[in-house]
């Protein structure tokens, strides 16, 4: 799933934190990492000593990963998204977890741009899953996964990734708007139940428990609500282009990433190339 992962890093990144991340990525199947740092044009630190990157690289190597270090220039989010493509990364790991909870919950503009621009899956690490401080590897079999889908093409794409997460519990959540009349609503509900049942059957071999739930309402609000209720570690969802009217409020995915305590694994829409 994340055999080769690109990790964007900035100055003052702490090696001990990155070591924990490395152990978690290893658990999720990563074997190599590309540490990527972007110099902003006109930045005060441009061309400065980049030896801190070596320290970070060593921290990740201690976790058993093959590490390469790359640097780039330009608009940060665009450069990261482009590097992920050029380096053949399977995904991007983005650490939203900071020292203070409020910092973790507030997503920076770079992260927001990256979520929109990336052509490979992005894992945004928030409060959950908590990384062990004692140097042990996180246990993948304890993971609670929330797979949010509206059963269309964009949200079916994450299914193979959900399977690879495996873990203790997968809760498949379908959120949609209500149909305009009771008959259409019943027909749609029955169709959704059938499809969710099929998805659950596909996921059952990979998880200790698979449950399904269907909700009506605003997708972002419902996903956040259910994620908190089941204390999901990772929310897996597909990214879609926002509708014209919803654009000013932001993509559903962006709102989920901003408001969630669980980590988010966001899979871009197939066939869309944003960075290039």
């Amino acid at each position: 799933m994340l055999e080769k992962t690109l990790i964007p890093v900035a100055y003052k990144e702490r090696p001990e934190e990155l070591r924990k991340v490395g152990r978690m990525l290893k658990t999720l199947g990563a074997n190599s990492v590309c540490l990527y740092h972007v110099n902003e044009p006109g930045s005060f630190f441009r061309g400065a000593d980049l030896s801190w990157l070596t320290l970070l690289s060593e921290a990740l190597e201690e976790a058993g990963l093959i590490v390469e270090v790359k640097t780039g220039e330009g608009h940060i989010a665009s450069a990261i998204a482009e590097a992920a493509l050029l380096e053949g990364a399977d995904g991007i790991y983005m650490k939203a977890k900071r020292r203070w909870h409020i910092e973790t919950m507030l997503l920076g503009s770079v992260s927001r741009d990256l979520l929109r621009l990336a052509d490979v899956p992005v894992l945004v690490h928030k409060v959950r899953p908590r990384l062990p401080d004692d140097g042990t590897e996180p246990d993948q079999s304890d993971l609670n996964i929330l797979y949010a889908t509206d059963l269309d093409e964009a949200s079916a794409r994450p299914l193979p990734y959900v399977m690879e997460f495996a873990g203790a519990w997968c809760h498949v959540l379908h959120v949609r708007g209500r149909m305009a009349d009771p008959l259409a609503e019943r027909t749609r509900r029955e169709a959704v139940e059938r499809e969710l049942h099929t998805v659950a059957e596909e996921l059952r071999p990979y998880f200790g428990r698979v449950t399904v739930e269907e909700r009506i309402g605003d997708p972002a609000a419902q996903v956040l609500h259910v994620s908190d209720r089941i204390e999901a570690d990772v929310v897996v969802l597909g990214r879609k282009s926002p509708a014209f009217l919803s654009a000013p409020m932001g993509e559903t995915a962006e709102r989920i990433v901003t408001g969630s305590s669980a980590s988010i694994f966001l899979v871009p829409q197939p066939g869309r190339r944003n960075a290039s």
């Binding site: 708007g177 209500r178 149909m179 305009a180 009349d181 008959l183 609503e185």
Partner: protein, 498 residues
């Protein structure tokens, strides 16, 4: 058993109970009803007159956007259905339901009153005031009222004919409320619709009764005391109740067509016997001014000078049309099955509007001609008693007595057809949207409308009617905004070709 009845008839029991309470309160303490309704009315106007303006403009834009979008080809019914009524019958019926009495009441008097009492930035009785008067008469009776009706009727027609739901306002809320439309929330929406309908219809019937009375006083010199107006309402009530109970739907259709023909004859007579070139000049120049200024007119509340004027006229009209919209909307929806959304919206917005423009140009333009060119003292009469203006105007034409009699017949028939339709619609609204409704409901609603009109006339006359129309319309305006959302959701689920 009783609990089941209460649950089934909750909308009827609640709305009838509240209306009967209002009637009882008004009859017992008329001294308290006036101040109470005036306080509510002032609070609404002080804080939300801007909302009326922007909402009604939005309804117009929304209706046009849907008609001209790819959703315009969707049929109000199943795809293979054909329209139930012929084009002329359809237009005649929707026109009679939508305007009727109001045209006769205000056709002459509104331009005259605007001429004499314009906003403070225009000199009274000046040529500018005349142009302003005609433009605002077109505006108040033009495309906007029909946009209001369009929103309600399109929603009801779409959700009942295409989605197979009962013809109720609450049905349109299924995309938002789901099964809760059968609970308290849905019933509240229907109660608000009933409220708006009762007060909107009562306002129109009050106007109609006042004008019939003025006409009879003018023609035959009968007493102008309020008990006579009450007597007229009671006689008309007996007539429309008989029509509603006997179920003469065919008869109402025939009467509607007859009334349109009669109105057209009266219109042609006034045009032919008066100054046709002057009237036609008024028509084209006012139409030009109206089209040129439609956005400004739509959103103009004159906050720096003339705010009171805008509140008293434009906001009153918008509220009045909104209070009529559940009744007219249901009625128009019912006669529009099988038409496409584009055909429906464009016809409803343009055909009756054009007829109304011609009506106002002929009656208002002729009245202004008499006032400004021939020194007739009509504006002063209208300023004194708006219900008398039409008959004072007809005095200046040959066969004035006959023309006045035709006008009174028109008023009575409009009164009966409107009240009959309102009674049937109210009974249907409080019977789960069914077409077959028990007679006791028709009787209760018929008497309720008339009793409300009488109570309002006794407690404060014309201004009392206006106050209640505005007050009752306010909650329904919010319902209408939500209707736009639900209709958009419903249409977005349709599979139509790009």
């Amino acid at each position: 058993m009783l609990r089941e009845y209460i649950r089934r008839e909750a909308v009827f029991l609640l709305s009838a109970g509240l209306i009967l309470f209002f009637i009882g309160f008004g009859a017992a303490r008329p001294d308290l009803l006036g101040p109470a309704s005036s306080a509510a009315h002032a609070a609404i106007l002080d804080h939300f007159s801007w909302l009326y303006l922007i909402s009604v403009f939005f309804f117009l834009v929304f209706a046009l956007a849907i008609a001209l979008s790819r959703y315009g080809t969707i049929k109000l019914g199943y795809d293979a259905e054909r329209p139930q009524y012929g084009f002329f019958g359809w237009v005649a019926m929707l026109f009679a339901a939508g305007m009727g009495i109001g045209l006769l009441f205000w056709g002459v008097s509104e331009p005259l009153v605007h001429l004499l009492q314009p906003p403070p930035f225009i000199d009274a009785a000046s040529p500018d005031a005349a142009a302003f008067a005609m433009r605002y008469a077109f505006f108040h009776w033009g495309i906007h009222p029909w946009a209001i009706y369009t929103i309600v009727s399109l929603s009801i027609a779409y959700f009942s004919f295409r989605r197979g739901m009962p013809a109720l306002i609450s049905s349109c809320f299924y995309p938002i409320l789901g099964e809760r439309i059968y609970g308290a929330a849905g019933k509240m929406v229907d109660v608000l619709a009933v409220f708006a309908t009762v007060f909107g219809t009562a306002t129109s019937l009050g106007f109609g009764a006042l004008q019939i009375h003025s006409g009879l006083t003018h023609l035959y010199g009968i007493s102008s005391a309020i008990p006579v107006t009450i007597g007229i309402i009671l006689i008309a009530t007996a007539l429309f109740m008989a029509s509603a109970i006997l179920g003469v739907e065919k008869g109402v259709q025939v009467l509607s067509k007859l009334n349109i023909v009669l109105a057209a004859v009266l219109l042609l007579l006034i045009l032919g016997l008066g100054s046709a070139p002057y009237v036609l000049n008024v028509f084209v120049s006012t139409l030009g001014g109206y089209i040129n200024n439609i956005i400004d007119l739509s959103l103009q509340s004159y906050p720096f000078a003339g705010f009171e004027w805008s509140r008293d006229w434009t906001v009153f009209y918008w509220a009045w049309w909104i209070s009529w919209s559940p009744f007219v909307g249901l009625f128009i929806a019912r006669i529009s099955r099988g038409r496409t959304i584009r055909e429906f919206v464009l016809t409803v917005l343009t055909v009756p509007t054009l007829f109304t423009f011609v009506w106002f140009a002929v009656f208002g333009g002729s009245a202004l001609h008499l006032e400004l060119e021939e020194g007739a003292n009509l504006a002063a009469v209208a300023g004194e008693d708006v219900s008398l203006a039409l008959f004072a105007f007809l005095e200046h034409y040959p066969l004035a007595g006959l023309l006045s009699l035709v006008a009174i017949v028109l008023l009575i028939v409009f009164f009966i057809t409107s009240a009959d339709s309102a009674t049937v619609v109210l009974s249907s609204l409080t019977s789960g949207g069914g077409l077959v409704v028990p007679n006791y409901k028709k009787i209760i609603w018929g008497f309720s409308i008339s009793a409300v009109a009488i109570v309002l006339l006794v407690t404060g006359g014309l201004s009392s009617l206006q106050v209640m129309a505005i007050t009752a319309a306010f909650p329904f305006m919010l319902v209408m905004i939500a209707l736009c959302c639900t209709l958009a959701i419903g249409l977005s689920q349709e599979k139509v070709q790009e």
